[in-house]
Amino acid sequence: MNDTLISSEHIVLILTAIIVGTTARILNLKEDYRQYPSYPNGYLIHLITGFIAAALGAVAIPALMTKNFVAVTFLTIAIQQFRDVRKTERDSLKDLENTEYAFRGDAYIDGIAKTFEARNYSTLIVSFITALTIQIVNSKLIWINILCGVITGFIVFFILKRFSKGKTIGDIADVKEGKIEVKGSELFVDGIYVSNQLGTENSRKLFEEGGLAVVIIPREEHFRITLDNFGQRQAALFEATRSIGVKRYHFTRKDFENGRIVISLVPIIKDVNKLIETVKTTPLLESTKKSQSVMQTNLTGRE
């Protein structure tokens, strides 16, 4: 009977790895001003998929130890599952596009979905490394095994977290309040033309009284490539409208001469500091990021 049951060392190994992996997912599931994923159902979904990812990483080592090499192929199922996480996340965000204040945009949605997929991978790696450490240490004292596993697991988690951490607009650009001017039908912010859709008296009054605008000024010339990107501007505009709401009108415009970007809207909560903070913390999208140093470096060797 006992032959068919799993040994207590393996139970300790699997349980520790699952717990460390799931904890890593919980720590990665942070609530910030973006409030996404939403609480409680969004959280539950990602905690459960994180738990499954951790479980898959945890049982890989015991499977190998019992010479069950074929069992490792279930890692391919894990990959499939994580790709599904990305796909469902993307689908659900795309479904919401028409109900939001502004469009998130395809680039931003892609970035969010990829992040969710990547976090499942990091959960899997953390739990796998935890299990591996316990197996390698293989001390007679169970507590030493567990302690070593947990410590290594968390070190790996923090390395991965550091590695996958993205930058924000505030890291590469200054954001300051812009001065709104309405000249006839046209809207100007700090002298930059933004829109001519203020054709009626109502809209002009609305913008003059309740309008807010910020100007993003890139710190280096080459950052303009990232900031000018349509998807990146859309993401900043989305975060702006989401955090302070929008009564009517939201525009972004780029200035060709100096590379300044204008974001302007008539918000529900008129608080320019909140707007500046939100734009500053908007993530730089992976798809728009360009590394200047890589572009200059001769990576592959030229003749």
Partner: protein, 68 residues
């Protein structure tokens, strides 16, 4: 850029309101003639409200009602 979902927005002109009879031409969009500035403005606001659309006042004084 505001409500566009792509860098190539699909703007649609819904109506054109003018005080100049010669500018009232046929076409897809509704073209309306108003007898004076005040009527043109009132007409524009009414049509734009009904269609939930944006208004552009052109330099000539004519109104364009459009939507992304």
């Amino acid at each position: 850029m505001g409500r566009e979902s792509s860098p190539r927005p699909n703007y649609e002109i819904l109506a054109f309101i003018t005080t100049d009879k010669e500018k009232v031409l046929g076409g897809n969009a509704l073209s309306l003639w108003a007898k004076d500035e005040k009527t043109a403005e009132a007409l524009t606001v009414d049509v734009a409200k009904a269609l939930k659309a944006d208004v552009v006042q052109m330099r000539s004084g004519d109104y364009l009602i459009l939507r992304v």
